[in-house]
Structure formats: structure tokens, C-alpha cells
């Protein structure tokens, strides 16, 4: 069984590191000595993590190269992403979207904290998670309590709630999908759909 939680190619991380590091340092990277030198190989001591491209369903294997060795005092940041050569479908190749994934992770338009826009407001306002989740839970409950249909006109128990809807993602994991299913169905939500519809 080939379980491989993080990385197969320890070659770069451990075994090969001693040799290649000494080779590199022997050359000297002091700028004044750099008469003719290739750029330093930037993945020398990064940490490799196996992942899957989140875009289309070819689901190419990617390797995330993280800055640092995951030591406690060095929170990792992904500095490079490249195809996983072991992956039977992608075999290390990527399309332009996959090859540009690093810029998705570090997009300047990533959201960093919960925000709220009040009715009629022109601006977002930063809020705390607790405030946002409490407020959303309250709004959900208010609407559910008000519009929950326990029985239809024929008196059949239907236990449905159709005045609030949920649109699920297309790139979240199965585990996210499952917990989302549990939570939303338990509320009796029927207006429940995902990107597969379009």
C-alpha cells in the first residue's frame, strides 16, 4: 500500500541536501564572486506537500513548495507550485491555470477577515467571527421559524424550508460537502444546489 502523507521525493529534502548544499556553498554566492553563475535553485530546502489542483476535474497532482521546514517558529508560506510527476493523469504537467496557482493563493483579492455590509451601506465593515456567525445564525433561525412548512395543504408532513437557499461550491472537498449537506438538510432546506447545475 503506497500511503504517502507528504512527500516521496525525500531526495531533495534529506538525502541529497548535504551533497547539493555543499556544492552550492563551495561556489560562493557572494555577488562579487558571481562571475557567471546560474540562479540559485530555489527549492533546495523547501517542504513539499502533495495537493490537487482546485480548478477543473482533471484534478492534476501538484506539489506545494513551502518556505521553511515546518519548524514551530517558521510558519510556512507556499513559494512555488509545480506538477506532481507521480500523478498518473497529469504526470507533472499543468495547464496555464494550474501553473499559475501560486498567484491564486497569494492573490491580493484574498479575503482576510469577516466583513459585513449593512442595508443601504456603501462600504464593507470588518467584523469579528463571533459577531458574524451569531448574526447569521439568528437570521437563519428567524426566517426558518417564520416560514418553515411542517405540513402542506393536504396535511402531509413535509418539514421543508424554502424561503432560504444554499448554493454549494464546486471546489470544496467531499468532507466539506458532507458536513454542508448534514447541516443544511437538517434545517429542512430544499433550495440547495451546486455548480453542477450550470
Amino acid at each position: 500500500m503506497g500511503f504517502m502523507p507528504i512527500s516521496r521525493r525525500d531526495f531533495f529534502r534529506l538525502g541529497g541536501a548535504g551533497v547539493s548544499l555543499s556544492t552550492l556553498s563551495a561556489l560562493g554566492f557572494a555577488p562579487e564572486a558571481a562571475l557567471a553563475e546560474v540562479r540559485a535553485f530555489k527549492l533546495e530546502r523547501t517542504t513539499e506537500t502533495r495537493n490537487t489542483c482546485p480548478y477543473c476535474s482533471v484534478a492534476c497532482g501538484v506539489i506545494l513548495y513551502g518556505l521553511g521546514d515546518k519548524a514551530k517558529n517558521a510558519p510556512s508560506s507556499i513559494i512555488h507550485i509545480e506538477g506532481d510527476p507521480d500523478h498518473p493523469v497529469s504526470r507533472g504537467t499543468l495547464c496555464p491555470k494550474g501553473a499559475g496557482l501560486i498567484d491564486f493563493i497569494h492573490a491580493p483579492t484574498r479575503l482576510l477577515y469577516p466583513e459585513y455590509r449593512a442595508p443601504g451601506a456603501k462600504e464593507w465593515k470588518r467584523v469579528s467571527w463571533d459577531w458574524a456567525l451569531d448574526r447569521v445564525a439568528r437570521l437563519l433561525k428567524e426566517d426558518r421559524d417564520k416560514n418553515f412548512i411542517a405540513k402542506n395543504r393536504d396535511g402531509t408532513t413535509v418539514n421543508r424550508w424554502v424561503s432560504t437557499g444554499f448554493l454549494a461550491a464546486s471546489a470544496s472537498s467531499n468532507e466539506t460537502g458532507w458536513i454542508t449537506y448534514k447541516v443544511m438538510r437538517s434545517l429542512g432546506i430544499l433550495a440547495f444546489d451546486n455548480q453542477a447545475r450550470v
Binding site: 561556489l27 553563475e37 507550485i81 506538477g83 507533472g92 495547464c95 501553473a99 499559475g100
Partner: protein, 302 residues
């Protein structure tokens, strides 16, 4: 001069002495094969190049084509060039990955006046060493393929390095790794030539009678090879030169002109020197001064 393993330097720009060459010829020459017949123009190579080399240009505009950016730039080292042709009612979409060809006989290196700003490694990679680049742009004039570009910000010239940093540690260039359709392959030059001949054969079987390899003998062959559907007319692919060679102008400028020019200047100086020591200075004698005084007195006296 030593560099990383397998990257001994074979040639160095603006250097009068030969590089240490005992290993040259015994290290494997590498090549990148671009099979235009398998290319779908997805730009994965372009993206991978930006990613690996940490390059990001500007977000431009659409100029009426899906070719973006429209041309190579100092931070666009490779570019998919899209050409649509129509012959006998049949449309063909020719998509060529443009970038440095890594010539065996590199015009950029020949033209470069800055010692060590351009080097050719024993494996065939032609690399720009930015620290040594003085930004004169001579490489641009030297290049038969019009590849290098000057940076607007730091003034230096840039181009594809064939990911020399990856190749140095035994990896393939980023573009070759990413290419999803195996339109780009990377390996030893003999292997790539062999693969190319298979690909050419395949294209011919599929009706591309004029398919062929593009290896530019005029520059001693290249370390980036093309398989073209229309090898008879490479210029169809947005001006890929049919028979590229280093311009005779550049050869003269950087060839004959240099020693002869300097020699003649030296001769001129020598000529003066020997004229001086043989003929002696042309001095104004006392006699001349007197004659002048005499003339002046005569005129004034009149």
C-alpha cells in the same frame, strides 16, 4: 571558471582568452524540442515560465488577438505566437512558442561587449548573467531571432535561460515540465533529434507533407528545436527566419572590425612616433622669428 555541476562554461562574452575546455564535448548537450504539431497554444509554458522565474509583467489589454502579451518583453521570456492561415479552404492554426533558441553559435554572445554577461555552458544553454550585463542592447542586434529585451526598469537585457537553475540540478525547464500535450520535450540533443524525426514522420502520415525539423544550421544548430507542420515556410509562424544566421553586419562589427580597427589605430600612433623620431619636430627657428620681426617692421615702417 567553474559553475554548477554540468554547467562548465564553454564560451563567455567579451573575453579574449578561451574558456577552460577540457570537459567541453564530453558533457551532454541538452535540447528542448517544441513540436508545433502537438501544440494547442494553452500557454501553460508561458505561465510556468512566469511562475518559476518569478516574473510578472503588467496586466495589459487585448489588442484583437488572444496572443498576450503581444510580444516578448523583459519579463515575458516565452510567448505563444498564434497565426491563422487558410489554404485551399482549410484553416490551420499555427501556434509557436517563441523564446531563446540557445544557438550553438550565439549572436548575442558574439555581440556582447561586457565580459561574462553572456555565457554558453557546455550543455549548450546560453545564459545572461545579469550582474555583468551593462544594458547596452548589443545582444538584441546580435540575435538572429530577435529575442532579448531590455528591461524598462533596470536597463538590463533578459531572455529565456532554459531554466539553467533547474537544468543545473538535473531538472527539466519549467515550460517543458508543464506542457500538457507533450508539445515541449526536454532531453539530450541526440534524443530530441530522434524524437523530432518520429514526430515529423507522424505529421507526414497525417498529411503534413511539408513537415520537418527546424534546427537552424546557420547558427550551428540550436538547443531549442522546432517540429513544424510547414517546415518549408517557417516564416508563416510569425516570422520565424527561414535561414537564420548572425547578420554579416554583426559578424563584421564584432569580427574583423575589432582587430583591424584597433590595429590600424595602433599603426597610426606608431607612424606618428616614428615620423617624429626620424624627421624630428617641426620647430620655429630663431631665423623664422627674425624674419617675422623683419616683415612686421617693414610693414609698419611703410
Amino acid at each position: 571558471m567553474a559553475s554548477l555541476q554540468s554547467l562548465d562554461i564553454k564560451r563567455r562574452s567579451a573575453t579574449t582568452l578561451p574558456a577552460p575546455d577540457v570537459r567541453v564535448g564530453h558533457e551532454e548537450e541538452v535540447a528542448k524540442l517544441i513540436d508545433v504539431g502537438r501544440c494547442i497554444g494553452c500557454k501553460a509554458c508561458q505561465a510556468a515560465c512566469l511562475e518559476w522565474n518569478d516574473l510578472r509583467g503588467e496586466v495589459g489589454t487585448n489588442t484583437g488577438s488572444i496572443q498576450n502579451p503581444p510580444d516578448l518583453t523583459a519579463n515575458t521570456w516565452t510567448l505563444m505566437r498564434f497565426t491563422e492561415i487558410e489554404e485551399d479552404g482549410k484553416v490551420e492554426w499555427l501556434i509557436r512558442k517563441d523564446g531563446c533558441m540557445h544557438c550553438a553559435d550565439p549572436g548575442c554572445l558574439e555581440a556582447c561587449p561586457a565580459p561574462g554577461a553572456i555565457v554558453q555552458y557546455a550543455n549548450g544553454v546560453v545564459d545572461f548573467i545579469s550582474e555583468n550585463c551593462i544594458g547596452c542592447g548589443y545582444c538584441i542586434k546580435g540575435c538572429p531571432f530577435n529575442i532579448p529585451r531590455l528591461s524598462r526598469t533596470d536597463g538590463r537585457a533578459y531572455k529565456c535561460s532554459l531554466c539553467s537553475d533547474r537544468v543545473a540540478v538535473g531538472l527539466e525547464p519549467a515550460c517543458a515540465k508543464a506542457c500538457p500535450t507533450q508539445a515541449i520535450s526536454f532531453g539530450s540533443k541526440p534524443d530530441m533529434l530522434e524524437l523530432a524525426s518520429l514526430r515529423v514522420e507522424g505529421l507526414k502520415e497525417r498529411g503534413y507533407k511539408k513537415a520537418g525539423l527546424y534546427d537552424a544550421p546557420g547558427v550551428g544548430g540550436t538547443h531549442v528545436l522546432y517540429v513544424l507542420q510547414r517546415a518549408d515556410r517557417p516564416e508563416l509562424y510569425q516570422g520565424l527566419p527561414k535561414d537564420p544566421k548572425i547578420s554579416p553586419l554583426v559578424s563584421f562589427w564584432k569580427g574583423l572590425a575589432k582587430p583591424v580597427g584597433l590595429g590600424v589605430i595602433g599603426l597610426g600612433v606608431l607612424a606618428g612616433f616614428f615620423h617624429y623620431v626620424t624627421v624630428g619636430p617641426d620647430t620655429v627657428e630663431e631665423e623664422d622669428e627674425r624674419a617675422a620681426e623683419r616683415d612686421m617692421a617693414e610693414r609698419r615702417g611703410r
